[in-house]
Amino acid sequence: MTIVEDAPAPTAKTNALSVEDLELAYKVRGIPREVLRGVSFHVAPGEAYGLVGESGCGKSTTAYAALRYLPSNGVITGGRILVGGNDVTRMSEKQLRQFRAREASMVYQDPGSALNPTVKIGRQVSEAFTIIGVDGKEAVDRARTALQRVRIADPDRVMQRYPHQLSGGMQQRVVIAMALACDPQLLVLDEPTTGLDATVEAEVLDLVRTLREETSAAILLIAHNLGVIRSMCDRVGVMYAGKIVEEGDAVEVFEAPKHPYTLGLLQCLPRRGVRKTERALFTIPGTLPQIGTKLPTCVYVDRCALADDLCRNEVPPVVHVDVGHSAARSDAAHFSRCHHIDRLSQMPEPDSDHSANLLGGKIVMKMQDVSKTFRQHGNDVPALVGIKLDLGNGETLGLVGESGSGKSTLAKAMLGIYEPDAGSEIQLDDHLLEGKATNRPTEDMRAMQMVFQNPDSALNRSWTVRRILKRTIKKLTGIKGEEADKRVDTLSEALRLTPRHLDMRPRQLSGGLKQRVAIARAFAGDPRIVVCDEPTSALDVSVQAAILNLLSDLQKDESTSYLFISHDLGVVRYLADRIIVMYLGRLQEEGTTDQIFDGPHHPYTEALLSAVPSVDGEPSQRIRLSGEIPSPANPPSGCVFHTRCHRFMPGKCDVIEPPVVEIEPGHRIRCLLPVEELGRTQAAV
């Protein structure tokens, strides 16, 4: 370990991108507010560099600044950005246009909005070539080649289509093809896979990985998913409040973090098969400081468990960590801006007093032959087919599958938001439920509530938190007036909301607090069952951990049952007692969490497990699902999964509809393969 005063001075000439001491502010009502506080890093040609951090830490701003795509109120107040030796901050408008056309490209988070919906793919991709001076006919040919390059099998057909006719993964391929049109020196990817399913994400990431070998472009990858960064990047910079607090070889940083913030982020993740019965998740107290806050010493001091007077009074030095192989490459040096990297082992451990929940208590809810068919343009679209499930008292049932697999439909049918088809039976305790929520007596409504994915949409923005909670209490329990106020207070205390929060409107609260309010509302009437539809997918990992801890505490105290929908297998593994895997509205596999993760697996489960990029390295096996999830209006014959299955047996799977077989107690699989031939994969989560 060596201590130096400044960040390593990068050699500007050899780097594709080098950002030097970049300072940037957003002007809000005329007052510049600091967002980037001296960011320095460099990316060599052919190298992939990742930036991670919570939302609001400045990573996207840095990415946009690299191409000088700044909002009108963004001002670069200091430092330089060199791309191929040219200073982007000093370019004229004309030079900047040339630079963006020929030297740098960007891929955005949402491919749907990056493509012009009214222009056919062929023309859009050709345009990317016309701009760099390729003529008509040749531009079209080059566009075709470009699409082939991003592994689009049938480019001519795709070129005739409009963006909305392509799936999200396909759209992102097209966007990448356009970004590579000018053979850029620098490719900036801003959360390129965030909106995509894990299976599609895996495909896109595979593509970027192969393309890296074909081009010499330097890649700057922004992602909040640490697993994506680890699997894609050579080096990584951890950003906090507009400063890079730790940088180094990606594997090294994630294996042996040397900054309390990096360590905190990693510990927040449910990893390595940790379960709620073993321990609570680690959380980082507090939130990111607001932009423009003066942070004269260590930027992380307010949230750091190790902070002492030294941290409050002196700017932390850049501390180089020499660990084995990285020492050979000076540019891959691992450094951390911390006074106390020798004290990292003293970081407090999360609360380990998390006694196991009672599993498999009395059955609260039984679903029998539940189907839901939507009518669309005169066609029947079966979104849910013959679902059968039990939910025990105090049990968490995880529900996984790609988008379009019917998870949300199942939850909504259960709650009565969608009326299930005739013949479906949903039983609560001993009585059958009405199909429609509005026909159910208050008692039944009170028994089942929901926590939605997006708290912004779930809370009425013109109501105060108090009104939201009080109204729910009144409607579900009939308690009114002062009595109801008392309940609001008890409830908010249980969810660690303070009286001050009660008088605020949702927009004044952070994402995590909003989700707490939404959870408080769901628990207002002492429900038996709470449906959680991706409750943490819109949140940062540190906040996610706090919400998951809260959910598991509430469950312990109230013995509420959860139906927990999530695409994040790590989260499901942490929280769920049992798991159901769905595909195209049908149950494919059901079992306890251990059975699902240890195998033997349904081929679909196997593919899902192997698609997850993990901070702990790659899964042992890589199974990629090709193609898209078929339309439920026209499901494949035989086994609905056969069109994408890597174990497809022609003449069998496409003819016979497989029965659900119980291969061990509680573990049911819908597959024609004999049990001994089912795969077992080592899940990376």
């Binding site: 990056a114 970004a179 507090g286 938001i417 929520a437 779930a458 303070t498 004044q508 952070s510 607090l513």
Partner: protein, 322 residues
């Protein structure tokens, strides 16, 4: 995206960043850590601050100030009428058809009445009729829009067709039909304009309700057994207030315009009122004879009110969006 033309979302993405940054700074978002105990906190203070901020934004817009001043000037004219006009607008006759000069800044009309006095006094009728008509159309339109956007299905189908029918009849034809049948009193004019504008407001409100009703808080309200009326009026309505407010301001402007059109066609306000539309209608035939002043000044008055309300509407919209 590497191209000379910025990609469709480049500015969008940048704008999003901008808004995010502004939001983060403006709303004093409270973090996970909870309140800062060192800072005493009062909800009302904050509410006042937000209101003050919005007013400040409005007052900083010259367009808003100009619009308000014009409207205020006309309201003063309308309220005080012949008490502040230099001459009696109806019963005082001088030499007819005098061109603008000292003593008669806007000249006199073919009967020798002072045009300036008539233009000032002419504000009264239209400033009573137009806002009432606009208010009625917004009330009906909001009600229908809420029903259609919330219930959708057959309610929406039927009402949508009805709205389309109303919208497909030419405005003038419709207005003439109504006034020909019911005569032309102030009340009929108000009713006519309200009927004409209701479908337009309905469409705007319906669109706003449609997107609002898809949000999860509406589902959540249903899951606790709220009645539809409650969800519409207490949950959804407060969130589309700004849309309705902007639509209201715009409608007032157009109502002025439409009332003037009706008067011009003889189907609106009746003589001897100095109403602007009426004045234009009475005098436009004199333009070929070189007497432009009795027509031009009332016409400018109409235009000024319409422009002023639109300036105010735009400013409000911008301030609400900020």
């Amino acid at each position: 995206m590497s191209m000379n033309v910025p990609p469709p979302d480049a500015s969008g993405a940048a704008a999003a960043v901008e808004i995010e940054a502004a939001d983060a700074a403006g709303d004093d978002v409270i973090g996970e850590a909870g309140p800062d105990p060192r800072v005493p906190y009062d909800m009302r203070v904050e509410r006042r601050q937000a209101g003050r901020e919005r007013r400040r934004l409005l007052l900083r817009r010259p367009a808003f100030i100009i619009g308000v001043l014009i409207i205020l000037a006309w309201i003063v004219c309308g309220v005080f009428g012949d008490k502040i006009t230099p001459y009696d607008p109806i019963n005082e006759f001088d030499t007819s058809s005098l061109s603008p000069r000292a003593g008669h800044l806007m000249g006199t009309d073919q009967l020798g009445r002072d045009v300036l006095s008539r233009v000032m006094a002419g504000a009264r009728d239209v400033l009573i009729v137009a806002p009432i008509a606009a208010t009625l159309s917004v009330i009906f339109g909001a009600f229908l829009g809420l029903l259609m956007g919330y219930f959708r299905g057959w309610v929406d189908e039927i009402l949508s067709r009805l709205v389309e029918v109303l919208l497909s009849i030419p405005v003038v034809l419709m207005a003439l039909l109504i006034t020909a049948t019911l005569g032309s009193s102030r009340i009929v004019v108000i009713g006519t304009v309200a009927v004409l504008f209701t479908p337009i407001v309905t469409r705007t409100v319906r669109a706003a309700v449609l997107s609002e009703a898809q949000l999860d808080y509406v589902t959540s309200a249903r899951l606790r057994g709220e009645k539809s009326l409650f969800v519409m009026t207490r949950e959804i309505l407060p969130n589309i207030r700004s849309t309705i407010l902007v639509e209201y301001t715009v409608r007032i402007g157009y109502a002025v315009f439409t009332v003037a059109t009706l008067s011009f066609l003889g189907a609106g306000i009746q003589p001897p009122s100095p109403d602007w539309g009426l004045a234009v209608s009475d005098t436009y035939q004199l333009i070929p004879a070189g007497q432009w002043w009795p027509t031009l000044f009332p016409a400018l008055a109409i235009a000024s009110v319409v422009v002023a309300t639109n300036l105010v509407a735009d400013s409000i919209e911008a301030a609400l969006a900020a």
